[in-house]
């Protein structure tokens, strides 16, 4: 794959799968770029954790003036996607009419070009499409056994 060195050093390898960074000390999930420091507990130990890809839109905007690599795709929706695992990711939501996007809409991740190859380099990342499947059931909270005196 032809990837530009500058992009690779700024953004790292192409994001072929959706993943988050998990703090080994407190378990908090962070967006994939938080490789170095956990702001929940100040730990420096973070590891990759793959995500299932499902989530819901908690906020969104519509971009009319895109950055260079998104030129030609405007207007497009960018959402804050709260993944089912808890972590929030910003990402484009594609193949959807602007009127059909709402806070609460369920989405799932898919593979799309990010850098489009205008300069001969292609870079892939995760974008989201509307998911008609129902949300996964949340596991019921376990009842704590009361200590018997």
């Amino acid at each position: 794959m032809t990837v530009s060195a500058i992009e690779f050093s700024r953004i790292g390898p192409p994001k072929l799968r959706a993943y988050a960074m998990k703090c080994e000390d407190c378990g908090t999930l962070h967006a994939w770029w938080e490789k170095f420091h956990c702001y929940s507990c100040n730990s420096n130990r973070l590891v990759e954790q793959e995500l299932k890809g499902g989530g819901e839109i908690t906020n969104y905007t519509v971009v009319y003036y895109p950055p260079r690599d998104f030129l030609g795709q405007e207007p497009y929706v960018v959402g804050h996607i709260k993944m089912d695992e808890g972590v929030v990711m910003p990402a484009p939501v594609v193949d959807v009419a602007m009127e059909d996007v709402e806070i609460g809409t369920r989405v799932k991740s898919t593979l799309r070009r990010m850098k489009l190859g205008h300069e001969g380099d292609v870079y892939y990342s995760q974008k989201f499409i509307v998911d008609d499947a129902p949300a996964p059931k949340k596991a019921p909270a376990k009842k704590k056994k009361s200590a018997k005196k």
């Binding site: 770029w33 998104f70 929030v88 990711m89």
Partner: protein, 391 residues
Amino acid sequence: MEMRVGVLGLGKTPHKIQHEKGLRDLIVEAGRGAMDDAGVSPEDVQALYIGNAASTGFNHENSVGLMSSHHLGLVPAASVRVEAACGTGAWALHLGCAAIMSGLYDTVMVMGAEKMNDLATVEGTSIIAQAADAKEEYFSGLTFPSGVALSARKYMEVYGLTEEDLAHVSVKNHHYGARNPYAHLRFECTVEDVMNSAPIADPLKLYEVCPMTDAASALVLCREDILRDQPDKPQVFVTATQMATGTWYAVSDTMKDAYDLLNKPATRAYEMAGLTPDDIDVAEIYNSFAIQEPFGIESLGFAEQGEGWKGAKDGSTWIDGKVAVNMSGGLLCKGHPLGATGATQAVDIVEQLRGTAPEEIQRADARNGISACRGGPGAVGALHIYQRLEG
């Protein structure tokens, strides 16, 4: 700690697209203006702190600090370029204040300068995006306007603010911007004009985002006694300077983060100056996007959270209101030349306290002023308090 850093002189260039002037032309214009106003010559300036956020990208120039001191005739004095995204100019001011307070220098110049218009908008937008982490912006297709638009929608969702309500912020800023000869955009507008302006990033529209502007501004600062010894000069001092960092990524920028970014340093600044929000007459609050003015008003204690937008509608943040906010027209009208903004806010407040602002934007008998600057997606908070203190 009592802080009294004297403001000896002010200089600024008009804010507009200036293809015929280079970055160095703007820097020299503002810097000489400040030194003339201060009545000092270049030899008197012991250090230069010049804020410039992105000349490597915008102008293909890098060593702004060294370039500026050369052209201003400041060699062999100390000189350095300061960078902190959109908070750059305020950081130059902070460093200049700290230099005076340390006793190492007695007279310094602080500046901010940016020339953004030699590139096309899309290129410029991408360079501005470099002030956030490319990982988030490039990955998500966000730009600064759309990142802030997300916080606008969140505010609307949480507090019930409507787009028409928010439009009043632009109406107020444009009212005063039209009366500020140094502003980039000098036209008034109505709520309807704002609502009908082109969408930039939903829900923000053209009149709710700042233009890309070329400008420079400068202040000559001095030790307290130097200003006191010139009683004919307006006795305006910087009496608090407090800086902070916040979240580097917009996606983790919650409403609380947005509030804390300015509220925490503001609280420390009020304490440092011995003032409360009620004592403030004029404020320059960073508003490159309209929604940031309500956020700032709340963080500075001028309104409860969720109510910061009301002042533009009910008059309490207009010139005769409880506190006059952004009499310069704010960044919405002045534009946001990245490195200059924080310094220009200081210049504009000091003009208010001196009583030398243009009549139609001059708050009557302003004694206490505050400037709030921010940078990055929510990464830099910068608070300064200024007071006219007769000897």
